[in-house]
Symmetry: C2
Subunit: 318 residues, 2 copies
Amino acid sequence: MKDLSIGIDIGGTNTVIGLVDRDGNFRAENSISTSKYTEVEDYIEALTAAINESLNSVTENFVLKGIGIGAPNGNYYNGCIEFAPNLNWKGKVPLVELLNKNFRVPISLTNDANAAAMGEMIYGAAKGMKNFIVITLGTGLGSGLIVDGKLVYGHDGFAGEVGHTIYDPNGRLCGCGRKGCLETYASATGIKKTVLELLEKPGAKSSLSSIPESEISSKKIYEAAVAGDKLALEAFDFTARILGLKLADSVAYLSPEAIFLFGGLALSGDYILKPTKKYMEENLLKIFKNKVKLEISGLMGKNAAVLGAAGLIWSEIE
Amino acid sequence: MKDLSIGIDIGGTNTVIGLVDRDGNFRAENSISTSKYTEVEDYIEALTAAINESLNSVTENFVLKGIGIGAPNGNYYNGCIEFAPNLNWKGKVPLVELLNKNFRVPISLTNDANAAAMGEMIYGAAKGMKNFIVITLGTGLGSGLIVDGKLVYGHDGFAGEVGHTIYDPNGRLCGCGRKGCLETYASATGIKKTVLELLEKPGAKSSLSSIPESEISSKKIYEAAVAGDKLALEAFDFTARILGLKLADSVAYLSPEAIFLFGGLALSGDYILKPTKKYMEENLLKIFKNKVKLEISGLMGKNAAVLGAAGLIWSEIE
């Protein structure tokens, strides 16, 4: 009988569910709203129905090996979503416990960036690697650290907050309440902020100045850069200088074989990758120079979050 | 029969050898010069004689479980000392291979900060901890990272270079050739540099101004601080502000249960510990606040480097 596992990606708006095999083939996909359920019990009921629908849609025999979940502020150790700012449910939500009442299989929870790193290791460009880092450049900057083939959770399950290492103690205000966190610069939100700052400079010229502020996005900035817009290119350079500097610190900590960039801003490909690589190399300690790969994730375009969540289960079996 | 292991601490000047049991009791101690041997083969011959002398001095029966070595730039993976600036032997020195010709037991090599972390885990204040960091504040700043009960070596064996994470890209020149590395501020050398800078300010008053520059040390600065010298206290505060900020980054990476300070500057006790703790807490992400212990090493005054090197062997057996 075939072994399958369920991967669940809980986002602020939607929850995506996939039933996948060890090779990453989707046997069933489903999704429900996250945001419409104000009570977690109602959400669990809807999620249970959606999972069962996926399980029942497969005609061949199979063994469900487990359910892996990636969610903002998901804590691997206690199976709780803890104080997630973008979800309706406040405080500590014992998601694994609640779901286990309906599914008597191993259930693992972690945060979305950790799930992305797991997906990269099992299905992506990090296959066979034992030490690497995945950086997700979305609304914020998330990170999943793999040391010796395993996700780093740390003492309390919250390791890997590279987005909240400090670039400039007097810098941009961060959503976390502090100043100058890396993610205020190096993220889809960060590069937009950079563009807005550059547009305010006297004499600034850019095709982006004709777009309403609310519509400026990392995708629009990328398109402007491709068209040769100097201000957009300057924004990429500024972002890359800070990201490259801090990734040199990441290398000093963990000596990874590779760092993978993932998420919205990583869709800009070489426009973010090449300058980041340049600045990272400039700032690397000599023993690390020209040794560490910096690449775009091998899972871009695929449903990496679901694959990674499912990967939590394979990783625990193997 | 009792199990014993040899711990060897290779310093730039001297090499210290200890024959210890699992509980950290020394059964024999010995030392040789490091610096007088310009050829590594001659050094290995002297080291072999010293080890044999220690082994032969024990009258009861025992089993030698292995030899652990802590050395600057010691690489765990390949057993080589690689390009150590303070040793006579240039390039890659295959220390483990050379010593194994004379001792047919498991031999492990790592760098001195990693050995200190191993010592802390097996014999010191980190007993029973699975996730912690040891920071050695000596001539430079070394660090040993323990994740999930194991030393982090990374892809090429050089993980844990926290001393070379960058505090200020335009800051003090570092021995590594770059600028603003943490160790140029937070180390015995760094605080001396800070004192010299403070003494140059117009109107500076300090008991330290009467000491010749070459004699100012972290010990002298500590003594001045104890006597209430304001400039010395300011130097501790300045050092702690930078160290605390960067340790908050360390917590964001690894979510350790504790961070231990070790080495010359750590002998200043609360004078370095208290302000560092204050600044670290100020800079911690909310989820980490008031959770992470910051303490002086439990091995200060003991021969931690030798114990830690011996600990490499116990850790691999267990």
